[in-house]
């Protein structure tokens, strides 16, 4: 049934969830920009972030200090990523590998399986939640949990901070240089392998941040990163691999399309609408809305 109120509610809901998914996509696209590989285990870093948030809030800080737990959770995932990168990813560049892409795919899928099964073995089959003391917030006609609203605001802040760091700091300059040309950056004196480590850590840290922010909303369990990973990949295909503004805009587009489709067309095919959007974009602009063709020698 159509009503203006329902339309407005679903639009708002779609924008909010889209921004949250965009954080995940940003991590994927950022790693690709610098390290030139797809990390298929992003969902598992999301999952680690959510577990870290749960453990910090429930056993250490309490619900009122969730806002301290969030950066700590993201930081812990960053450190895990930075520790894993030299072991798993660096060999791609250190050794003379002929098929780097296949190597990255195999290694990150193996990491995915390892982390997921480890989590299932340790945490068991149950779901957890850090809970939230934040009350319901009215965004126009749409009631939204305080936790989701806070996650939305934190995501916007994180995206803004990320943008500023990329544009205004030396590290940001180095990362942008590496994204344009790894050899050029290396020639200019940038330690490209160290940069890879930082970029990988930052990328998975963004996924961990998404997990920490969404823990009270989508619960905490070993495979909670699966769907958000799929959304993340949909977003980078729509927005363009390597494009940060593209990730945000595509995220919002995906959230709105899925939300409106579920509300006004047929709810069981909610996820299908997103894939239809992906197909439409691929037909019109195969590199994504903000993506660019890349020439490789």
């Amino acid at each position: 049934m159509f009503s203006t109120e329902l339309l407005v509610q679903t639009l708002i809901a779609g924008v909010m969830i889209g921004v949250l998914y965009a954080l995940m996509a940003l991590g994927i696209t950022f790693i690709y920009s610098i390290v030139k590989m797809i990390n298929w285990a992003m969902g598992e870093f999301y999952m680690i972030g959510s577990f870290a948030q749960y453990l910090l809030v429930v056993f250490l800080l309490g619900r009122d200090f969730w806002w301290i737990a969030v950066p700590l959770s993201a930081l812990s995932v960053f450190l895990i990523g930075a520790a894993l990168e030299p072991i798993l990813i660096k060999p791609m560049f250190r050794q003379a590998l002929e098929r780097k892409d296949e190597y990255a795919t195999v290694v990150t899928i193996a990491l995915l399986l390892l982390l997921r099964n480890l989590a299932t073995g340790i945490a068991g089959p149950n779901q957890f939640t850090p809970g939230s003391n934040l009350g319901v917030v009215m965004l126009g006609p749409l009631p939204v949990t305080g936790a989701r609203f806070a996650a939305f605001l934190c995501t916007l802040a994180a995206l803004a901070l990320f943008y500023v760091l990329l544009k205004k700091t030396w590290w940001g300059l180095a990362l942008r240089a590496a994204a344009q040309s790894r050899i050029g950056a290396q020639t200019s004196g940038v330690d490209i392998l160290r940069l890879d480590q930082i970029a990988f850590g930052v990328g998975v840290g963004l996924a961990g941040l998404a997990g920490a922010l969404l823990a009270p909303e989508f619960q905490v369990y070993p495979t909670n990163g699966v769907v958000t990973t799929v959304k993340g990949f949909e977003i980078i295909v729509i927005g363009g691999l390597g494009s940060i503004p593209g990730a945000l805009i595509a995220g919002v587009m995906l959230g709105v399309v899925e939300s409106l489709g579920a509300a006004f067309i047929a709810s069981p095919y909610q996820n299908v609408y997103g894939f239809l959007l992906v197909l439409a974009v691929l037909l019109i602009k195969p590199t994504g809305l903000f993506g660019e063709r890349v020439r490789q020698a």
Binding site: I17, P125, F128, P222, A263
Partner: protein, 398 residues
């Protein structure tokens, strides 16, 4: 003879001895297959609970009954269905053809059970559905298919009895798009019409893997129902409860959860603020009498796990016990003989009433069903054992 050759020869002989030993051991044990969800997208919590009961049945048969068929011990062979049909079918094939089990039980997801039964029809190793309720599991009248669980028609009879008792007129069904969810929603529509119950129904369906149901629940809110029936399994149950609270459906509109998920210990950890007022289906209450083996199981479960056994574990126990009794009755491990014994015999399970698998019409074929209860949480952190019993429905009149 070179040392390496000697070493290899020793290894070969040891392996052969081991194999021979294993074969000897295999002849002395009777294997029962347990196919359960142990990882998502299945419901691993349910799988673990069923497994606990099944393992206790093995202990009972081997230590109290001292085995079956002249003292042979039984052994459980466990496979993870992951809640996926393709994985479930592969698991059944392995159990039936490689592990040579006498029967496969433990099924929790209707989709998996239905797919497996299509293969069981060909292979012939019987299946006993532990907690799957879709009609097709027994309605197709496949000889190897059996069930010891409430079927959709009986569950929906309980829903309608509840709605009538409470005076509800407008009911929203929020159902996942699985055989279970769609089956219940369609059965509800069918019985509502056939019984002229006069309910105005809204059917909202969603993908089991969805993480955000705001759009769907806003439609429910716009419908202004008297009752919402939550027909999700696993994580979606909790998602619906939480997101229904956010959009303002709960706590003012009552919600009925379609199976016994709220009995699990994690329920109050996830819903400490919005769990009060929830109605839910249950198949067992401590207020009911157990059989002697049921009493044994309840005591052993409490000692081992420090919790009261819930239905999933009780029925997992019961189904392994039934297969063991069938093997004893048949004096054989041949699947055809097991099926004949299941059809002809009367079996003990956890409940005080005996189990039979009649050649009855339609969905009641090869089916035994416990009574359906509808329980109600009226205070925070309430123990399901003391929850108010709102409806006790005994169905299956055929």
């Amino acid at each position: 003879m070179k040392p390496i050759t000697r070493a290899l020869g020793s290894i070969a002989i040891s392996a052969l001895a081991g194999l021979t030993g294993s074969a000897q051991a295999a002849d002395d044990t009777i294997k029962i297959g347990l196919e359960i969800p142990l990882s998502p997208p299945g419901d691993p919590a349910a799988g673990q609970l069923i497994r606990r009961g099944a393992e206790l049945a093995v202990v009972y048969v081997n230590t109290v009954m001292k085995g079956v068929n002249g003292g042979k011990m039984i052994e459980l062979v466990v496979q993870d269905s992951q809640g996926k049909t393709d994985v479930g079918v592969a698991a059944y094939r392995k159990l039936a053809t490689e592990d040579k089990v006498i029967g496969v039980t433990g099924f929790f997801h209707s989709s998996v059970n239905i797919a497996v039964n299509e293969v069981a029809k060909e292979i012939g190793v019987p299946t006993i559905a532990t907690q799957t309720s879709a009609a097709d599991i027994t309605a197709k009248r496949y000889e190897p298919a059996f069930r010891t669980h409430a079927i959709d028609p009986i569950r929906v009879e309980a829903f309608l009895e509840f709605a009538k008792k409470m005076g509800y007129k407008r009911v929203s069904l929020v159902a996942e798009t699985t055989d279970y969810g769609i089956g219940i929603a369609e059965e509800m529509e069918k019985q509502n019409q056939a019984a002229k119950a006069g309910l105005e129904l809204q059917k909202i369906t969603f993908d089991h893997a969805a993480t955000d149901l705001t759009a769907q629940l806003l439609q429910v809110k716009a419908f202004k129902p008297d009752l919402v029936i939550n027909i999700g399994v696993g994580a979606p149950v909790d998602l619906i409860i939480d997101q229904a609270t956010t959009v303002g459906i709960l706590p003012t509109t009552p919600m009925l959860v379609s199976y016994d998920a709220p009995e699990r210990p994690q329920f109050w950890k996830l819903h400490e603020k919005n769990g009060v007022g929830i109605y839910f289906i249950a198949y067992y209450s401590p207020k009911q009498k157990l059989s002697d083996i049921g009493e044994w199981m309840a005591k052993a479960y409490k000692e081992k796990y420090g919790e009261t056994a819930i239905y999933s574990s009780l029925n997992g126990f019961g189904d392994v016990m039934i297969l063991a009794q069938a093997a004893e009755m048949a004096k054989s491990t041949d699947p055809k003989a097991i099926i004949k014994a299941l059809e002809a015999g009367t079996f003990k399970t956890w409940a005080d009433s005996p189990v039979t698998f009649p050649d009855a019409p339609g969905v009641y074929y090869h089916n035994w069903s416990p009574p359906i209860l509808i329980l109600h949480y009226t205070k925070p952190n309430e123990d399901w054992q003391t929850a108010e019993i709102v409806v006790e429905h005994v169905g299956g009149k055929h």
